[in-house]
């Protein structure tokens, strides 16, 4: 396959390419407490008790 893709969001830059942000890679994930849809508090500790977790900060309701 050939051809240059233009106009796309660029290839995946590393997280430390964001000005002023230090990578968190390798560090302990910061503990948090957030409400679920029913208003109940959910902690990171509980979420990762049994299995790894993918935490996704999303934008866009679709």
């Amino acid at each position: 396959m050939s051809g240059r893709m233009t106009g796309i969001a660029p290839h995946l830059p590393g997280p430390n390419e964001i000005e002023g942000r230090s990578p968190l890679l390798g560090g302990v994930a910061p503990e948090f407490q957030m409400r679920d849809e029913e208003g109940n508090f959910v902690t990171l500790r509980r979420l990762i008790r049994q299995r790894p977790l993918l935490l996704y900060f999303y934008r866009g309701g679709w």
Partner: protein, 219 residues
């Protein structure tokens, strides 16, 4: 990727042994409506002030509204008794920088110590891309409902159009990337939604034994 793509990917992730949660600076009530509307099988968490996004270095002040919102980002976090560390992270400099599902799947499989790895990329047809954009404004019966009318202003529609086209281009870029990084294309088949062919699914495979043996947190 965007939220509805995770509806299906969630099951692949669970099959690989990990869980998924979403988070945004919306209220639990908004999240509940969104989760029901998109029929998501995972929890949406509320970070209304962006405090948690700040903790993860994934926070910025939106202009011009001044709202605190998270950058689109993903963090793969170890199980507690394995250390609870961040094994992989991606933080998008802008909301247009989105990790492809195939890349995410690759990272998860590597993290979980899989040597034989399989990822697939659905490249939508141009017709399907335009149809998706049209249907966001006017979904046929049976498809997921659009956001409430008050949210569906012109700028949202334009943003959705741009994202949809960019994700289509990202799918092409992913096929290039996987091929260039030594993955073997094992299959390319039409992808159907009902009985409508919406694009092509490319299935790639690789044997990653050398890379996985360098993982510190393999079981």
């Amino acid at each position: 990727m965007y939220l509805s793509q995770l509806r299906q990917f969630y099951w692949e992730a669970r099959g690989l042994g990990i869980d998924i949660v979403g988070a945004a600076n919306d209220t639990p009530e908004t999240n509940k409506e969104l989760r029901e509307r998109l029929d998501l099988p995972f929890t949406l968490l509320s970070d209304p002030e962006g405090e948690i996004a700040k903790l993860y270095g994934a926070f910025h002040k939106d202009e011009p509204s001044g709202r605190n919102i998270a950058r689109v980002s993903v963090f793969l976090i170890e199980q507690a008794d394995a250390g609870g560390r961040i094994a992989w992270e991606y933080v998008g400099p802008t909301a247009r920088h989105r990790v492809a599902l195939s890349r995410l799947s690759e990272e998860i499989q590597t993290f979980m110590g899989h040597t034989r790895q399989v990822v697939s990329v659905v490249v939508p047809s141009p017709w399907q891309v335009e149809r998706t954009i049209r249907e966001f404004q006017n979904p046929p019966l049976g498809l997921y409902r659009t956001p409430p009318a008050e949210e569906l202003n012109e700028s949202v529609v334009l943003v959705y159009r741009d994202y949809t086209r960019e994700l289509a281009m990202l799918s092409h870029a992913e096929v290039h990337r996987l091929a260039n990084e030594g993955w073997r294309l094992v299959n390319a088949v039409p992808e159907f939604e009902g009985d409508v062919a919406i694009g092509q699914r490319h299935v790639f495979e690789r044997d990653n034994s050398r890379s996985v043996s360098n993982q510190e947190d393999s079981p």
